[in-house]
């Protein structure tokens, strides 16, 4: 039953979409005094239809309705309820329906919230947004309908993959999608404002909220993805430069650049075209992300099952949108030209421009690393693999000038600032950072020439951003985000510098000493549970005065014969202790892998701080300007 509801409401939504496209296109050429009430009404009906469709799918999952093909492929009666529900968007069809739902809900909110804006601008935004919605509806109905029926109805589903049953992974896609889809509003709105020629301070103030919302969700989405990779994949890392991860990082760079540029537009009425280019690029990158992940064109550990017709559809749709955007850009670009304003080198505008250059550089590196292998394979058939060393070699050296700029750029004044004279307190802070870094690096065995300036500068930046909390020259939101960012850079650097790994073979009662730690294998408890045999090992990691108990597990399944191992992770404020063990032969020896990862929790915390800064900026009421 829910299948029919879900399916037909999608058709209704498509009709609504086509009606709105035609109607708003016809209306957009006329001079308008007020917004047609029908536009909002039909959009709300459309949103309702898509919501019904989505809820039907969730119901089909909750009641394990295996007459639905999507449910049959991705669910199982034995799954816990939480994962049944999250399973509804954990697959290709369901995730697209979620995309669509977010698209229409965002449009609805936009129409309600943009009352103070120009009527023509609102109608045009509706038009562009409806084109995107219609594209996705046709895509879903033609190639990935989540309501396909199967007959006879199977008694049991296929989906019981334990690695996908993880809370972080369950909420990761919806959050990431909120970020991706938020950029669609920015895209439609910037095209509409190009045509109406209302790019300026007021528009920037209005669109900034949407930029912030997308940026916050994207940041949290990326964070959840790497938390999942760290805890569930258990390879002891949180970022692998995997194409699927890169694809979410690229719009983030672009959106971060846009976030800063839009402030310049709001305050100084500068960078109009650049803001529009960034808006278009951000959305194109989000869409390409969907294309690259969903079409299976990438080789990645996370690539999903695929079907070439899907890839072709998204590819064509993506290029039609980009082409439309470019044409509109080139033929309307002069409408919003303002008076040329004088700019000076030492000013906040320039500092933000420099920030943008860095973001564009980081973006290009990741883009080349992700796309170039596809180009090369198509053009001359050779296959190359781009791994972490490529990204590290190209990105890390440029972090040094980036950190330098970030330490003084944000505190510059608008329009023109004086070239600073020698400031004694900054010099003291710099000396302190050198001192701290010296004491830290002296402990490390693998310090390289490159890591010395990096550590010094990131400590310097950290102290500067803390010092900024006491100055009155900027908003709290900016202080929190920049502090979070400097903490993130520092945590990642120290984490990579001080992580170490220890491998050994041990039997019960053995102890191994390395660095200043002692690892003791106390005993192994063997139990028969349901359909597997469980071996739980009790380890102790002893330091000078602390003892950390760790109990990793190995599971042996008989039907079919497989061995899986569950890592034990102990998280403290300062470090993570990670231990995994494997059975070797039958001589009582076990292979153990112990990893020490300092400051892991700070990587998560600082990213949360960065997004809290964004939330503070949305909530800000007082219009005091700095």
């Amino acid at each position: 039953m829910s299948n029919y509801f879900g399916n037909y409401s999608l058709y209704f939504a498509l009709i609504a979409s086509l009606y709105l496209i035609i109607k708003s296109y016809l209306v957009s050429n006329k001079a308008l005094k007020y917004l047609d009430k029908n536009f909002i009404l039909i959009t709300s009906i459309q949103t309702l239809m898509i919501t019904i469709s989505f809820i039907s799918l969730v119901f089909a999952f909750i009641y394990s309705d295996f007459s639905n093909e999507t449910v049959f492929n991705n669910s199982h009666t034995l799954k816990p309820m939480f994962y049944k529900i999250s399973g509804s968007w954990g697959n290709h069809e369901g995730s697209l329906l979620l995309w669509l739902l977010v698209l229409s809900v965002f449009l609805f909110i936009f129409l309600l919230k943009s009352g103070s804006q120009n009527i023509k601008y609102r109608v045009l935004t509706l038009l562009f947004q409806q084109i995107i919605i219609a594209g996705f509806l046709i895509f879903i109905l033609l190639t990935s309908n989540p309501f396909n029926m199967i007959f006879p109805i199977p008694s049991e589903g296929l989906g019981l993959n334990p690695i996908l049953q993880d809370p972080a992974l369950a909420i990761h896609p919806p959050i990431l999608y909120l970020g991706y889809v938020g950029t669609s509003i920015i895209f439609s709105a910037s095209l509409a404002s190009l045509i109406t020629g209302n790019i300026g301070e007021a528009w920037a103030r209005h669109i900034k909220k949407w930029v912030l919302v997308s940026w916050i969700f994207l940041t949290i989405g990326i964070l959840l993805g790497s938390i999942w990779a760290y805890y569930e994949l258990g390879w002891g890392g949180f970022w692998f430069w995997d194409p699927v991860e890169n694809v979410s990082l690229m719009p983030w760079f672009c959106l971060t650049a846009l976030l800063h540029t839009v402030v310049v537009l709001e305050r100084r009425n500068l960078f109009k075209e650049w803001t529009i280019i960034l808006s278009i690029t951000t959305f194109s990158l989000s869409m390409s992300g969907t294309f690259l992940v969903r079409s299976g064109i990438l080789n990645s550990i996370h690539t999903f099952a695929n079907d070439p017709s899907r890839g072709l559809f998204i590819l064509s749709f993506l290029f039609i949108l980009i082409l439309m955007a470019l044409t509109i850009f080139f033929f309307n670009q002069n409408k919003s030209k303002g008076a040329i304003k004088e700019s000076f080198i030492f000013s906040k505008e320039t500092a933000i421009l420099v920030n943008n250059w860095f973001m564009m550089f980081f973006l290009s590196v990741v883009l080349v690393g992700t796309i170039y292998p596809i180009f090369l394979e198509v053009l001359n058939g050779s296959k190359i693999s781009v791994g972490p060393p490529f990204y590290h070699n190209l990105l890390i050296p440029f972090l040094i000038p980036f950190l330098v700029f970030m330490s003084f750029g944000p505190s510059l004044k608008w329009i023109k600032d004086n070239v600073r004279k020698f400031e004694f307190d900054l010099f003291v802070i710099f000396l302190i950072s050198i001192l701290i870094s010296y004491f830290i690096l002296i402990k490390s065995e693998k310090s390289f020439l490159l890591s010395i300036p990096l550590i010094i500068l990131s400590f310097y930046l950290l102290i500067i951003t803390i010092k900024d909390f006491f100055s009155k020259k900027s908003y709290l939101s900016q202080k929190v985000s920049h502090f979070g960012f400097s903490l993130l850079i520092l945590s990642i650097l120290l984490n990579s510098l001080f992580s170490f790994e220890f491998n050994s073979n041990m039997k019960v009662g053995d102890q191994r000493v390395f660095n200043d730690k002692i690892i003791i294998l106390k005993d192994v408890i063997v139990q028969d549970i349901d359909n597997y045999k469980s071996l739980k090992a009790n380890f102790e990691i002893k330091n000078k005065n602390t003892t950390i108990p760790l109990t990793p597990e190995v599971r042996i399944y008989q039907q079919p014969f497989t061995i899986t191992s569950e890592a034990a992770i102990k998280t403290t404020l300062l470090s993570d202790n990670f231990l995994v063990f494997n059975i070797l032969k039958d001589d009582g020896y076990y292979n153990i892998r112990y990893q020490y990862k300092p400051l892991m929790i700070w990587i998560w915390m600082s990213t949360i701080l960065i997004s809290i800064g964004g939330v503070l900026s949305i909530l800000r009421r007082n219009e005091k300007k700095y």
Binding site: I163, G234, W235, G236, G237, F291, S295, G296, I297, N299, S300, I301, T303, P308, G311, L312, L315, F319, I322, L323, L326, F330, Q333, P373, I374, F375, E377, V378, L379, K383, I384, S385, G387, N503, S504, N505, Y557, P560, F561, T562, I563, T564, S565, N582, L584, K585, N591, R593
Partner: protein
């Protein structure tokens, strides 16, 4: 005029990207039977890891059945995760030929001594060129070859999991 040149050049770049992506969709990611009809030449020489013996790679393949080739390295973290599944294959009496990719032979031997050796034979691929013959793009990768026709019939990119192990076992049972 200047504007038009910009527009046309961006347009040109866009079309190029479209064509490449369009072609890229056709490039198969799993090498199935009908897509790789042509016989692949595996008759190149290689050195074995443990006794430095020089052999012809093709001779290692089962001429009448299925051969499993696994590309690995001691420095590759996912390979370590994958290792237990290779041991599972060994326990099922399935022979796996290892290709040691861009690795120091001492590290490779230490890795196997520590974790156990799941391979029936291991050949050394110091510069990564032999793995390219298999169309490998990274480590780990597992490639299934039909010995009768020298075709790659299946390719697993990234570490193996339980489902892959069952699939490999089924593939071998079907052919034998």
């Amino acid at each position: 005029m200047k504007k038009n040149i910009k527009f046309v050049s961006i347009l040109f770049f866009l079309i190029l990207t479209f064509v490449v992506m369009f072609k890229g969709l056709d490039v198969s990611k799993d090498y199935s039977n009908e897509k790789l009809n042509s016989k692949i030449d595996f008759s190149f020489t290689a050195k074995k890891l443990f006794n430095d013996e020089i052999i012809i790679l093709e001779d290692l393949f089962d001429q009448n059945g299925i051969s499993v080739v696994n590309i690995w390295a001691s420095w590759c973290v996912p390979c370590r995760e994958e290792h237990k599944f290779l041991m599972n294959l060994k326990n099922m009496n399935i022979q796996v030929i290892g290709i040691n990719y861009k690795d120091a032979s001492k590290n490779a031997k230490d890795f196997l001594n520590l974790l156990g050796n799941p391979y029936s034979d291991i050949i050394v691929d110091k510069d990564g060129t032999k793995s390219i013959e298999f169309g490998a793009i990274g480590v780990p990768e597992t490639i299934i070859i039909n010995g009768k026709t020298n075709n790659i019939i299946k390719k697993f990119i990234g570490p193996l999991n339980t489902e892959n192990v069952i699939e490999i076992k089924n593939l071998i049972n079907e052919t034998s």
